[in-house]
Amino acid sequence: MFVYMDHTATTPTSPEVLQAMMPYFGENFGNPSSVYSFSRKSRAAIEKARTQVANALNADPSEIFFTSSGTEADNWSLKGTFEKGKSSGKTHIITSAIEHHAILHTCEYLHKVEGAEVTYLPVDAEGFVSVDDVRNAITDKTALVSVMFANNEVGTIEPVAEIGALCREKGVPFHTDAVQAAAHLKIDVKAMNIDMLSMSAHKMYGPKGVGALYLRKGLRPENFMHGGAQEKGRRASTENIAGIVGFGEAMEILQGRLADDLAVNSARRDRLIAGILERIPHAKLNGATGTHRLPNNVNFSFIGVEGETLLLDLDMKGISASTGSACSSESLDPSHVLMALGLKHEMAHGSLRFTLGRLTTDEQVDYVLDVLPEIVAKRRAMSPLWEDYLKSQEGK
């Protein structure tokens, strides 16, 4: 059985989306910046997609700027806002300890190269940022607050609307990385007082290589990409028309099924969580529960086992999953997210993430629940840490 349970890494482009994209590789290849009538089709296609994305967020189409990725949207938002405010003494950035590297590494860059002062807010054991911590961190030097909408590793959904309201009250721009959240949750940028929001198409059954930044009317961060006058002179580079068309389609299709997907995914998620807890002793769920958790995210640590071994064992059974273990990263450091949640190193190394989506079936959930306990037991049997753990439990 092939079981793809890594929808947070990426999703397949849906057939309807692909179909909508196809004409813009061949017949409608015109450069939207050209004057002749033939290129009008390309321009119109981009504007249609802009409206589709804007509608999904309750934004105005003029507030949507297409980028090459969610990462670029994050970079633009942070660097552009910082550079804009620098001359008036706005040199402070507030973010959280569990952001995606697209945010964290951008903050590190701004600190190192531009001298930005960065506050990394801690999170609690379930991964929540405290609104009071944001309040206390804001100073008259704060250029922006950037807190992710929902965490990609453990699925915790942050109190974005509360942070948005606070930032609006304080007059500080608020950016949120919604790369994961936008694929699962209804987002209303007006009601939630969001000033800037990053998104990516390939997390929501659109193509790779296209993202967007929502920029509330009136906000003008410095440009990130310099060159031609595309995107009203705000983001240079010839548009990825097919990709943008695909993004718009994917976003519109998603809005039509958001509530159904949420119900189906949440039910499967909770069944997988309950099944693992029931069948595997000493398994720890990482992250929040219920409606505070992304509907498709399951993240566990198994005492005594290292995550990469579980991934390979699962792969042998046809199951694709993910881990926060160092051994699967380039750096050999365990996941900064799990460490920020207060996990011990060995627990962070032992994490396993399943992320559900449109490819998931109930049979697949059963299959994972069938094979996982055996795999964990096999690896625990050869682990000196598991042995130590069992001994430590004997006295209790």
Binding site: A326, E346, S383
Partner: protein, 138 residues
Amino acid sequence: MALDYSQKVMDHFMNPRNVGEIENADGVGEAGNPKCGDIMKIYLKVNPETNIIEDVKFKTFGCASAIASSSMATELIKGRTIEDAWNLTNNAVAEALDGLPPIKMHCSVLAEESIHAALNDYREKHGMPVIPMEHHED
């Protein structure tokens, strides 16, 4: 990158040899720490007449290359004298596995170090001088 393993690594990972513990082992050694995500524990049964390693078992917490390195290292020292076993280098373990990804070479180092620790434990218990251990940087 996690799947860039040789067939030998995958074989020793999926079907590790010599897993377990030896009760009343003549030498026990451990290397690594949970912070790095790797811990290897080696148990030796040594014939005191011949100083030949008659049995060896391991337990390892770590990634696939750590488990494969432990498994291969135990195969390489089984039936050898304690002197021969001491001379087993991490490179020899990695080579026997048809190579490890560069970032995973420390797993073979861990195998060498845990074997050295177990051999020194044996030497100490049997009144032989302990050999100073080299500690690799990674």
